[in-house]
Each structure stands twice: as structure tokens, then as C-alpha cells.
């Protein structure tokens, strides 16, 4: 599950440990300093399993972006659109690294090289209008925070 997702971006093996439905990167140094109780969060959070699907964390996407060539870099206007869950158009793209074939997954970076999420190639970068369909974007933090606030107010 996690390995299948990671293989789309890197050949590197990802040693992980699972805590509940969450995956974390193995880390021998952190193992040495942890408490004897069961932790809930451990170093680099890789993602979680939800209904048999692996959902990567944003820390993992950042980590992958440091190792992968499968990246598309978007201009400012594309950055905002992507964070609002909109499909990227060719005019949003600054440049592409790695594979450009339809169906491939790409890490979506802004012009500063920061990871905004990832998406799937749905069109030809030189021809078509719509090129990257968002799969996961950092706008999710807004939704999560709104939800948490609602829950807190209810409580």
C-alpha cells in the first residue's frame, strides 16, 4: 500500500512502522529516546490507511520531493488554484521534471520548490488546457482546522 504509492516517486525503500492505521518512517535514533509507552506519533509521519486506501501525509510528500524527479512546478496563480482543489492548466505550469505521460502522478511544487501536494497528469503539457488533476493538496489543512473548531465549539 505505502510501498506502491512511494514507488511512483522513488526507487528508495521506505522502512516504516505502523501505529494504529498510521505509518511512520523507521528511525533508529528516535527509537533510542522514546518512552516505554506506546507512542501515537513518531518522527516522520508517512500517511494513513483509510478504507483500504493509503493517504500520504504532507510531511511524506515533502520527504519524497527531496528524493524524486517526478515533480511539476507551478507559477503563483497555479499555486493558489491548486490549493483550492482546482485542476491545473498548462498556463499554470512553470516547468516539469520527470515523466510527462498521461496517468502518471506528480508532486506539485511551487516556484520556491515547496510541496503543495500531488496530482495526476491528465493532459499533454504542450497542448491541452487541463494538465494536472489534484489528488491531495495542502488546502486540506483549512478544512481540517474548520472541522476541529466546529467540534471544539460543540464540546
Amino acid at each position: 500500500m505505502l510501498a506502491d504509492f512511494a514507488a511512483k516517486f522513488t526507487k528508495e525503500e521506505i522502512p516504516f512502522k505502523k501505529l494504529g492505521n498510521k505509518f511512520f518512517l523507521e528511525d533508529k535514533n528516535l527509537e533510542k529516546i522514546k518512552l516505554k509507552q506506546k507512542e501515537k506519533y513518531f518522527g516522520i509521519f508517512l500517511g494513513e490507511e483509510k478504507e483500504d486506501t493509503f493517504i500520504p501525509s504532507f510531511v511524506f510528500l515533502e520527504w519524497l520531493a527531496e528524493r524524486s524527479e517526478e515533480k511539476v512546478f507551478v507559477k503563483d496563480i497555479g499555486e493558489i488554484d491548486f490549493l483550492y482543489g482546482k485542476t491545473l492548466r498548462s498556463r499554470h505550469i512553470d516547468h516539469v521534471e520527470g515523466e510527462t505521460k498521461i496517468g502518471f502522478l506528480k508532486l506539485v511544487q511551487n516556484i520556491h520548490g515547496e510541496n503543495l501536494g500531488y496530482g495526476k497528469i491528465i493532459g499533454d503539457f504542450t497542448k491541452t488546457e487541463q494538465v494536472i488533476k489534484p489528488k491531495l493538496d495542502r488546502g486540506l489543512f483549512l478544512k481540517r482546522e474548520k472541522k476541529l473548531k466546529r467540534e471544539e465549539e460543540k464540546a
Binding site: 522514546k34 507512542e39 506519533y41 518522527g43 509521519f45 515533502e62 495542502r138 481540517r144 476541529l148
Partner: protein, 281 residues
């Protein structure tokens, strides 16, 4: 006159409500303060360095900064200016225990300098902590959903930002909503937490105790309790604020409590705050 304003008067203070400025702390693991300033100013955000903290800015914008890519990318954290001080006073350079970690402002701040063991006992608040750790991209934190009293490892560096009754700058009608009984109940809990945290502190280790309360029962009296029961000394700290009170409500406290800092909103233009740094002898 409210009982609290009377008490503040007894402490020598005529309090005033001040307009708080929105503050952020730069996540230096991801970006420098200078670079973030350039990026946000391009978006017409007014930025002013907070002079008494390392990586903080007061910010003003016509839109909600939460919707900016910079926020979503975890380049900064909304953190009141006073709340940025305790971690700077702790100056973590080795593995640090953060005792009451959620929502994670101080945890993520510590993680900029040293690995963190974060402990939080509230399940709902733990979710907020996780979310902030992910947004800020933490890689060196281990977090536990459990009671601090279950921790049994020793640390050379501990932060106890204790749950407190808050202060009148944080909540509408705070003075009407609170009572001395509630303050006292909080104080008992704080003593309990501090006692356990101190039992986890290595000899010569440092513990920073802080609250966003300005009530002596939750602050100076708690530190006096620590001095009475543990081999600790109160270290002098260098930050804004007034010295801790050593003579209050007919109680004479250890003179070293003056080494603590007490932030009065009308003097510092921040929320009310109290900070103490203890070293185990």
C-alpha cells in the same frame, strides 16, 4: 469593582484592556524570517519584527492569513508574542519533554532546535497537535496521548506550559466567568503537574514553567511550592516583564522568585503571562 481588579490593585497594578496585535512565529526549519517577510509583504501583509522574541512578527492584513499558501505550507504559526518566550527561555539543545503539548505551538517551536517528547492527555486536543505537527513538517517529535504522571524517563530539559485559568485578555467577560475557587483548583493541578515534571528532571537539568495566568496562586505560589519541596533554584531570566512577586496577599515568598517574569498586558501589550526557569540542584 471586581474581585480580580481589586487583587491586581493589591499587586500594585491598575489594569487596562489593550488591543492585542496578531503575532506569528516563523518556522525556521522551513524558511528564514527575512525570506518570509519578503514573501508576505509582497502580498500586502504589514510585518513588524517583535523586538523581544527571535523569530516573531506582528502582522496586519486585509485578508485572513490562514488562506495564504505560506500558512498552509507551515512556514509560520499563529502564536501570541508572549507565548513565544518560554521556549526561548528554555533554550532547548537536547531532548526535551513538552508536558502539556497541545495545540503544539511550543512543541513545534522546540522542534526547531531539539528532538521533542510531546505528552498530551486530551484526545481532542491531541488531534490538533497532530495536525499542527504535520503542517509544520516536524520530523523529530514523538507524541504520546497519555497523562504526564505516566512518564517515567528522566530529561535534562522540560517545558511545562501548564493548563491555567487564562487571563482577562484572552476571553470576553473573563473576570465574571472566573472565581477564586476555580483559580485555587487550577493551582492544585498545577502543583501536581510541576511536582511530577520536577521528578522527571535530571540533576542540573532545566525546567521552564509558564502559564497565561496572572494570578499569584497559579504562578509565584506554585514556584514557592517547588522551592519548598524540591531541590531546585529559580534562575534569573532575561526577557520582558516585571519581576515575580515576592510579597503578596500577606505571604512572603522566597526572594529568588523575583527572578521569574510576570507580563502584565497593559505594560507589555501582550496577553498576561508568567515564566519561571528552575534548575535542579
Amino acid at each position: 469593582m471586581n474581585i480580580f481588579t481589586e487583587r491586581y490593585k493589591e499587586m500594585g497594578e491598575e489594569i487596562e484592556f489593550v488591543k492585542l496585535r496578531k503575532a506569528i512565529r516563523v518556522n525556521t526549519k522551513k524558511i528564514s524570517p527575512e525570506k518570509l517577510q519578503v514573501r508576505l509583504e509582497k502580498k500586502h501583509v504589514e510585518m513588524e519584527r517583535i523586538p523581544f522574541v527571535k523569530n516573531g512578527f506582528w502582522v496586519k492584513a486585509k485578508f485572513n492569513l490562514v488562506s495564504t499558501p505560506e500558512y498552509l505550507l507551515g512556514l509560520f504559526y499563529f502564536q501570541e508574542a508572549a507565548a513565544q518566550i518560554p521556549v526561548e527561555v528554555l533554550n532547548p539543545i537536547a531532548l526535551t519533554l513538552d508536558c502539556c503539548a497541545a495545540p503544539g505551538g511550543k512543541t513545534t517551536q522546540i522542534a526547531e532546535y531539539a528532538p521533542v517528547i510531546a505528552v498530551e492527555s486530551d484526545k481532542e486536543r491531541f488531534v490538533i497537535l497532530e495536525n499542527n505537527m504535520e503542517r509544520l513538517g516536524l520530523r523529530n517529535c514523538i507524541a504520546y496521548l497519555m497523562d504526564l504522571r505516566d512518564v517515567d524517563k528522566k530529561f535534562s530539559s522540560i517545558l511545562l506550559d501548564a493548563p491555567c485559568s487564562g487571563n482577562y485578555m484572552l476571553e470576553d467577560n473573563w473576570m465574571q466567568k472566573n472565581s477564586l475557587k476555580r483559580i485555587q483548583e487550577r493551582a492544585e493541578k498545577q502543583k501536581e503537574l510541576l511536582a511530577h515534571a520536577l521528578s522527571l528532571l535530571e540533576k542540573d537539568g532545566t525546567l521552564v514553567y509558564s502559564t497565561c495566568s496572572i494570578e499569584p496562586e497559579e504562578n509565584e505560589f506554585v514556584i514557592q511550592f517547588a522551592l519548598d519541596h524540591f531541590p531546585v533554584k529559580v534562575e534569573k531570566i532575561n526577557c520582558i516583564g516585571d519581576p515575580g512577586l515576592t510579597k503578596i496577599f500577606e505571604r512572603k515568598l522566597d526572594p529568588s522568585i523575583a527572578n521569574c517574569r510576570r507580563l502584565w498586558p497593559h505594560k507589555t501589550n501582550t496577553i498576561g503571562f508568567f515564566i519561571a526557569r528552575l534548575r535542579k540542584c
